[in-house]
């Protein structure tokens, strides 16, 4: 893979990491903390779960259970059976992650549609039929010496940026085709 693509991928993954870390260090909004008290059935009172957005120091039965279902002297016995747990989450992280995931998925689907449906049509319109016949499969022929050019040609420098991108894309497509042949058609790898 060319350096350009590699640095692009690295840059995007670093961005993803940074975004995640920024989200986790933001101040917690009041929506993202809660105290959850589970109180089992007691005498005539049915079991109930109570949620409140209180901080850690207020996370006990007296602050959270409202309205208190039992009278004054039973409150202590009732509260002893209740279990209160403090929980927090980061809704910002969840939102950012889902949005990033859906956008990457959408981009990939669009690119797949473009590659399978639109690109042959566009190429045929722009270059005519002659270009379509010339395929890249001839490069991978059996001649051992011709393949060595692939290895040596990596070290040459390309002057044109566009040429570089085009060449990289052609090479990638060839690689994917090779992989597809060995996995899906010949069942040589990963059966």
């Amino acid at each position: 893979m060319s350096r350009f693509e590699f640095s692009l991928h690295l840059f995007s993954s670093v961005c993803f990491l940074l975004l995640l870390s920024i989200q986790t260090t933001n101040a917690k909004s009041s929506e993202d903390i809660r105290c959850k008290c589970i109180c089992p059935p007691y005498k005539d009172v049915l079991g109930q779960i109570y949620n409140q957005n209180v901080s850690l120091k207020d996370c006990n039965c007296l602050h959270v259970v409202e309205p208190m279902p039992v009278e004054g002297k039973d409150v202590e016995a009732y509260c002893l059976r209740c279990e209160c747990k403090y929980e927090e989450r980061s809704s910002g992280t969840i939102k950012v992650t889902i949005i990033i995931y859906l956008s990457i998925l959408g981009l990939l689907l669009l690119y797949m549609v473009y590659l399978t449906l639109l690109e042959p049509v566009l190429k045929r319109r722009l270059f005519g039929h002659s270009q379509l016949i010339q395929s890249d499969d001839d490069v991978g022929d059996q001649q051992p010496f011709a393949n060595a050019h692939d290895v040596l040609s990596r070290s040459r420098s390309r002057s044109n940026m566009l040429n570089k991108v085009e060449h990289a894309q052609q090479r990638w497509k060839r690689q994917v085709q090779e992989q597809r042949k060995s996995v899906f058609d010949r069942h040589v790898v990963l059966s």
């Binding site: 590699f6 991928h9 690295l10 290895v151 040596l152």
Partner: protein, 823 residues
């Protein structure tokens, strides 16, 4: 005749005698690219030949200068072909040379000292980066998978990115009976037709569930097929092979990483019976491979890179289970081939960094790392070892049968027409899974939630059907649950769980190995957990209804909580996972890191050992080794013992009926002879001998290096437009090739010579023809050899390659030797 032959030999030995002695002196430098020709031979012929051409521009053109490979290394020499094995010895010695050079230079200047310090530190920096990247990716995968799994059931109106649990997180309106319902979460039936109950709503929910499942799996398999076909499957068999020295280009690349991450979420969310632990190991190894390109030390050396990949495999398991120690042990036991001690410490560091990153992203809330983290500490009794061992036997039997069935199905997929329709196969399996899974509550939810529910013992206010016990003493004020008879719902749950068990056992056979990312840990643990929980509830009811039996009387008095079905589920899960993968230490450590306590080590170990023994009795290999053998990878198993009495000459090539060994001579070949040899044969390396008569070994040359050197240095194959790398002209088809140290000066009218000593390995490994094969196999395993030369009375007789050894082992075990595809 004899005398003449002897004279010839002695003449040859005299001539090469000097070069032999010289070889002894510079024995250390195998691939020394620095020029060793700094002392030009002071031959009179040479100087006179030089002087004869001194007039004119010929000397300036350099047409008689010796073609020397040694001033600059040709790029590409030292790299490997796709689907070939690396040469461990060469890579390790390259790294040692590099390290020696840096250390010796570090005394010269401050800059060089800094360079050497940063070189030593680069390994740790790389581990830190791998841990961070894998932890972040695993967190993203977890959050997305949770959301998409719940998307099959409904949508949150508060913000579409919340899944069911987080949608109802802040709601104050949850009561105990309906803790899962809250007004912001709408199921599809509610959104489409406005009803929540009734047959019509059920049908709409059913239909939407199946449609979403089909959509997700179709997207997954199309993305895999279009962008990265290597992203399918589990990945662990291929990573095992890569770590033993095999090269699969593109398997750990950027596109594979991206597609595997995206499609793993889709595959898990579609309700298929697969897990994400195996693919997470692949994802972590991809991260490791990609980050290796930042550091020269690891980019250029395949052996060092494999050390990093071992650590990355540990990171993968660590983020999957939240078990760093278990991850390191998994990498040591299952995945890695060579595991030096330095890798142990670095893997642990990377696994901890990854676990810490995952915890700070906090995908589940509550700072838990894994969904089924259990926290009970109730004691177990010695008599319970009997049912635990029964669970181990069940796990072993199931593991062996599963491996056989899955391999048969995969072979069927490989050889028959089933393999021509991968997309259709995925869609059909998803449809069957979704249609059969929806009616049963226990299979409708994701498998991780099922395992979590089975592992957790019934708490105070558990609303699940499994915990519907009749509270005999409802007025008791203690917080513990007394020994209890089962209510009606528990029996319903029991037969639903049995149906789920049969369903999961059958559908996982078909699902593992499809062309979507699929893991095996979670489905096996689910099967074991269900079986364990069934047995646990059975034991509990037995103890309650017959508490006057002598075996129960001692410890299970009425009113005491003596049997914990959740523990049985855990032990069952460990037994089934051990039966399928044949993990031992790593399994026990992962399970006890999941539970957070040492109380259950003995039951877990008992079940894991029993399961491994029973499974080994029924079938020798674990699932990953079986898949390696199915694909024909050249993996020399390090755990098997070679117990046959064959000798090296029985295995070596050429056999009696074959043509003789193709060798290169050190000084009598021309470029066109070598090209003819290369095009006629397909061997990946050639031994170099002194001469065809003496067959005395000089060294070994790899085919790829030979091709690249000839192409780089001869203008015959160069395209006309390029000028780069044009070192010397004058090399034509009739140029002689020399592998010797000192070459004689060419006569004036003949073309320049091509010197290829730099690409030759001067220290190939040899064994004699009477060496027992046990020792040869041991040498191959311990040193990581790819080929080994066989000599007889000091003369070269044949060659043994790794593929020959694998074929021989297959033949000895009465298997088909042609199933070894690669070399």
């Amino acid at each position: 005749m004899d005398n003449a032959g002897y004279c010839n030999e002695s003449f040859n030995s005299l001539q090469s005698g000097t070069s032999d002695e010289d070889m002894v002196e510079i024995a250390g430098a195998t691939l020394d690219f620095s020029s060793t020709d700094d002392v030009p031979p002071l031959d009179r012929d040479y100087t006179s030949g030089y002087a004869a051409h001194g007039g004119g521009g010929d000397v300036l053109n350099g047409s008689t200068k010796l073609m020397d490979l040694l001033d600059e290394p040709v790029p590409g020499v030292g790299t490997y072909e796709d689907f070939n094995t690396i040469d461990w010895v060469r890579e390790k010695s390259k790294d040692r040379d590099r390290h020696r050079e840096i250390t010796s230079k570090s005394k010269e200047s401050t800059w060089a000292l800094l360079h050497s310090v940063s070189d030593a530190f680069s390994g740790w920096l790389l581990m830190l980066l791998i841990g961070l990247m894998s932890g972040a990716l695993a967190g993203g995968i977890d959050i997305s998978a949770h959301w998409m799994t719940d998307l099959k059931e409904g949508v949150c109106l508060n913000g579409f990115w919340f899944n069911h649990e987080h949608c109802c997180w802040t709601s104050n309106e949850t009561t105990f009976q309906e803790r899962d319902k809250c007004p912001q979460w709408k199921s599809w039936a509610e959104l489409i037709i406005g009803q929540t109950e009734g047959a019509f709503a059920y049908i709409v929910n059913y239909l939407m569930y199946v449609c979403w499942a089909l959509l997700f799996s179709f997207l997954a398999v199309s993305l895999v097929r279009a962008f990265a076909p290597y992203a399918c499957g589990s990945g662990i068999p291929e990573i095992k092979t890569i770590l033993s020295g095999f090269i699969i280009r593109g398997y750990l690349g950027k596109w594979t990483l991206m597609i595997k991450t995206i499609t793993l979420v889709l595959a898990v969310s579609s309700g298929l019976s697969l897990g994400k632990e195996g693919p997470l190991v692949h994802v972590a190894c991809c991260c490791g491979n990609i980050l290796c390109h930042l550091f020269t030390k690891y980019r250029k050396n395949e052996a060092k890179r494999r050390e990093v990949l071992s650590a990355a495999a540990a990171v993968g398991v660590s983020v999957a289970f939240g078990a760093p120690i278990g991850g390191v042990l998994f990498s040591l036991e299952e995945v890695s081939y060579y595991f030096p001690l330095k890798t142990l410490w670095r893997s642990f560091f990377a696994a901890l960094v990854a676990a810490f990153t995952l915890r700070s992203i906090n995908p589940f809330g509550n700072s838990r790392l894994v969904l089924f983290y259990v926290e009970f500490h109730s004691p177990w009794h010695l008599l319970e070892l009997v049912p635990f061992i029964l669970l181990g036997i069940f796990g072993g039997i199931w593991g062996a049968l599963f491996i056989r069935a899955n391999i048969a199905w995969c072979r069927c997929r490989k050889t028959t027409r089933l393999g021509h329709y991968p997309v259709l196969e995925v869609l059909v399996v998803t449809a069957v899974t979704a249609i059969l899974a929806f009616p049963n509550d226990y299979t409708r939810t994701s498998t991780s939630e099922l395992i979590s529910e089975l592992f957790n013992d019934c708490g105070l206010l558990d609303s699940s059907k499994l915990c519907d016990y009749v509270n005999v003493n409802a007025s008791k004020s203690s917080n513990e649950l007394p020994d209890r008879p089962a209510g009606h719902n528990v029996y319903t749950a029991m037969w639903q769980l049995s149906l789920a068990l049969v369903f999961k056992m059958l559908i996982t056979v078909v699902t593992f190995g499809m062309k979507v990312p699929s893991g095996l840990f979670i489905p096996s643990m689910a099967v074991g957990a269900i079986a364990g929980r069934l047995l646990g509830v059975g034991m509990e009811q037995l103890a309650y209804h017959h508490h006057d039996w002598p075996i129960f009387k001692g410890w299970c008095s009425p009113g005491a909580d003596c049997i914990t079905p959740g523990l049985y589920a855990m032990v069952g899960a460990a037994a089934c996972l051990g039966g399928v993968t044949r993990m031992t230490v790593s399994l026990v450590v992962i399970m006890f890191e999941l539970t957070g306590g040492l109380e259950y080590i003995v039951p877990l170990m008992a079940a894991a050992m029993t399961s491994k023994w029973v499974a080994d009795a029924l079938g020798r290999e674990g699932i990953y080794e079986a898949h390696i053998r199915l694909n024909g990878y050249p993996f020399l198993e390090a755990k098997e013992e070679f117990s046959h009495k064959t000798l090296a000459m029985d295995v070596m090539r050429p056999r009696r009926s074959d043509p003789p060994l193709s060798v290169l001579t050190q000084d009598s070949l021309t470029v066109e002879d070598v090209e003819a040899l290369i095009t006629e044969t397909s061997y990946s390396g050639f031994p170099v001998v002194v001469s065809h008569e003496s067959q005395r070994l000089v060294g070994f040359v790899l085919r790829r290096d030979l091709i690249i050197s000839i192409v780089a240095l001869s203008p015959v194959y160069r395209l006309p437009a390029e000028n780069a790398r044009m070192r010397q002209d004058g090399i034509v088809s009739t140029s002689p090739i020399f592998f010797t140290e000192y070459t004689p000066p060419p006569p004036p009218s003949s073309p320049a010579t091509l010197k290829l000593r730099g690409i030759m390995d001067l220290s190939p490994f040899t064994v004699t023809d009477h060496t027992p094969m046990e020792i040869v196999v041991d040498i191959f395993r311990k040193l990581g050899l790819r080929q080994c030369l066989v000599t007889h009375n000091g003369r070269l007789l044949g060659i043994i390659t790794k593929k020959d050894i694998l074929k021989h082992m297959a033949q000895m075990a009465n298997r088909d030797p042609d199933s070894i595809l690669f070399n």
